[in-house]
């Protein structure tokens, strides 16, 4: 029974995500992704919708679960009714027998990956942060009508549980516990592999759609599975940490950013921007690093839009409007979250020094240590296999074989977050800093791992000289 209720909780969340995704995709997108990507976005945006709704309704009422059910059902129904033409166009696609075989192979590879990760997850305990940071908040919310009690934020004896961490996972978990009727440290472990499955689905769909080579869609999930850091150990999908969830949302943001650039000036431009901007609301609520990750993608995508937009007055104003649309929801979310923490007098954890120029200058002598730690981590075969070596080779090949603004986009979206992940340790209060780096850096790298796999897959050289267009895997506008 608990399994059914667990699934029902996610089905309701997914229904709201389906409605939201269809609304964001719009009535007549030029290039419509397939049902696989629709499912992944529905899961990610639906679970995010549940968490955001619980957070917002929790400010004004104690009937949080009931209101969230109503909002989710209504959002799903509205989206499906308002965009039924889009949905019908997707469902009525007439795939060839060959398409069906490829789709079955892709689903099979995702299912294999998901099954192995779920097996690991159910055979290991929640790790340290999984229990004390994320599950603890979820349990509190589940036993307080979907709201984390205010007393928690002012409890000095629970400061070690990082009250300043965002609420996506705790509120989503408490939503599931609400449906199940009780909390469960065992059942909740099934939630995290689903984020990895969503990553795999997005990777497969994006790789196939962009390159037109369906074998890459089959390969991508198997590459995720071959990365041990994602499957087992702290930070993995089996650990109950937020890192795999963060990775899924970062990948979704990168893919949305790609769509913004691919659709720029086209019929789907506005809808691509709306999807991207919506993810700007979600990322800061998944993990503290989410604000940084979205900021990086926002800056890179905005830079391309500005360069492309030209210097003419009208074009410049249009570009400014676009960038503002992409940035505004993100900035409002970050500001609201900071206001909330400050109103609850939540102190930052003692692990980090204030980010000031003087602190940076005083810690510059850590550069050698940080670089050597990064090098050691990237060549830790037990954790990453040869992913980062392959990623470096793929990056070089990508730079040689691609043209235009896209040439730098994906490499920057890997290298810049990686540099920031390392740079953040200039502000570590740990001394010596190595212990902090060794216990944390690999988890930060998990956030960018699916994007690294995307680069590896997209740069996979073609054996034949036939051109690989994108239209093969895309459907025409239903409008």
């Amino acid at each position: 029974m608990a399994v059914v209720l667990f699934a029902l909780a996610l089905a309701v969340a997914g229904w709201s995500g389906l409605g939201l995704t269809l609304l964001l995709w719009g009535r007549a997108p030029r290039r419509l992704p397939g049902l696989g990507e629709l499912s992944c976005y529905s899961f990610l945006l639906g679970t995010a919708n549940v968490a955001v709704t619980m957070q917002v309704t929790g400010w004004v009422t104690s009937a949080v679960p009931a209101l969230t059910v109503i909002e989710s059902a209504a959002l799903g129904a509205f989206g499906v009714v308002a965009r039924r033409a889009t949905l019908v166009a997707l469902v009525r696609r007439r795939p060839t027998r060959r398409d069906c075989w490829w789709a079955a192979a892709t689903v099979g590879s995702i299912a294999l990956m998901g099954s192995v990760v779920l097996w690991f997850s159910l055979h290991t305990s929640l790790e340290w942060d999984g229990l004390t940071v994320w599950f603890m908040k979820a349990q509190l919310a589940a036993t307080h009508h979907g709201r984390i009690p205010l007393a928690y934020y002012s409890d000095a004896t629970r400061e070690w549980s990082a009250p300043n961490h965002p609420v996506y996972l705790p509120l989503l978990s408490s939503w599931i516990f609400g449906w199940m009727g009780h909390t469960s440290e065992y059942a909740i472990k099934a939630l995290f592999p689903l984020h990895l499955v969503a990553s795999a689905g997005l990777l497969a769909g994006t790789a196939t759609r962009i390159t037109g080579r369906r074998a890459l869609g089959v390969l991508a999930p198997l590459l995720l599975l071959a990365t041990p850091a994602l499957v087992h150990g702290p930070g993995s999908a089996a650990s109950g940490y937020a890192d795999v969830s963060m990775a899924a949302f970062y990948l979704a943001t990168v893919v949305a950013g790609i769509e913004v650039l691919r659709n720029d000036g086209g019929a789907g431009a506005t809808h691509a921007r709306r999807l991207f901007a919506t993810l700007g609301v979600v990322l800061p609520l998944v993990k503290m690093e989410g604000a940084m990750q979205y900021g990086v993608v926002l800056l890179v995508v905005s830079r391309v839009l500005v360069v492309r937009g030209g210097r003419a007055g009208a074009a410049r104003r249009a570009t400014a409007r676009s960038v503002l649309l992409l940035a505004a929801p993100f900035l409002v979310t970050v500001a609201c979250w900071r206001l909330l923490l400050s109103s609850r007098h939540v102190a930052a954890t003692g692990d980090m020094l204030p980010v000031t120029p003087s602190n940076l200058i005083s810690q510059l002598d850590r550069t050698g240590v940080l670089l050597s730690s990064l090098g050691r981590e990237l060549t830790n075969w037990d954790r990453w296999s040869v992913l980062w070596v392959w990623c470096a080779v793929a990056m070089a090949w990508w730079l040689v074989t691609r043209r235009g603004h896209q040439r730098l986009l994906l490499p920057l979206l890997i290298v810049v977050p990686m540099a920031l992940d390392v740079g953040v340790f200039y502000f570590s209060s740990w001394s010596p800093v190595e212990a902090h780096v060794d216990s944390t850096l690999f988890r930060l790298l998990i956030h960018i791992t699916p994007v690294a796999v995307l680069l590896v897959v997209l740069s996979f050289p073609a054996l034949t000289a036939r051109p690989h267009g994108m239209a093969a895997a895309e459907v025409s506008s239903p409008g």
């Binding site: 690991f120 509190l140 071959a226 499957v231 720029d264 037990d382 296999s385 043209r403 740069s459 000289a465």
Partner: protein
């Protein structure tokens, strides 16, 4: 907009293709081998709603320790703060965190008692301490059946206590109890 720039501008690529295939094989080989190795060494773990908490409370040496701790603390008033007392090397840090997690809504302090009897308070609650959870490695409280209430001398008072398994004892104080030293209980 030029979607075609997302795909390669180079035509036939047999050499790079072979390199990518080789890297795929190496990547999969190293990664899957590691997973098989890790799968073979996974410990047997508990299932159920307290699966992880029970794992970290195994030092209490009782079945379903999370439920036992929760039940023992259930009668304390919500605003009662408590302190967990242990020796530095007897209780992993995560164990005290799990107890704190289970003890909501009580504030929970944590005091480590050194071999020479001195105390190292790690965390102390803001309010008055109404109860103490004392952990002693081994079977110090084996004689205390759960539910019995032998008294413990604290200052001038005899306070009731409850055994929660052979290694953990809950000492109930009052609103006025002064705890002269947590390490001499």
């Amino acid at each position: 907009m030029g979607g075609s720039s997302w795909v390669t501008t180079v035509g036939r690529q047999r050499g790079p293709w072979l390199l990518w295939v080789a890297l795929t094989v190496v990547f999969g080989g190293v990664g899957y081998r590691q997973l098989v190795h890790e799968a073979a060494h996974l410990p047997t773990m508990a299932t159920g709603r307290d699966a992880t908490s029970d794992t970290w409370l195994q030092v209490l040496e009782i079945p379903h320790p999370a439920a036992a701790v929760r039940a023992a603390l259930a009668d304390l008033p919500d605003d009662a703060a408590l302190v967990v007392v242990a020796s530095p090397d007897s209780v992993p840090k995560l164990t005290s965190m799990v107890i704190t997690m289970l003890a909501w809504p009580h504030q929970v302090g944590f005091v480590l008692c050194n071999d020479d009897g001195t105390a190292s308070p790690e965390i102390m609650p803001a309010g008055h301490v109404s109860a103490v959870l004392q952990y002693r490695h081994g079977d110090a409280y084996e004689h205390m059946a759960v539910g019995t209430t032998p008294t413990v001398r604290v200052g001038d008072s005899d306070l009731p206590s409850v055994g929660i398994g052979p290694a953990l004892q809950l000492i109930h104080g009052t609103d006025t109890t002064a705890w002269p030293s947590y390490c001499s209980l």
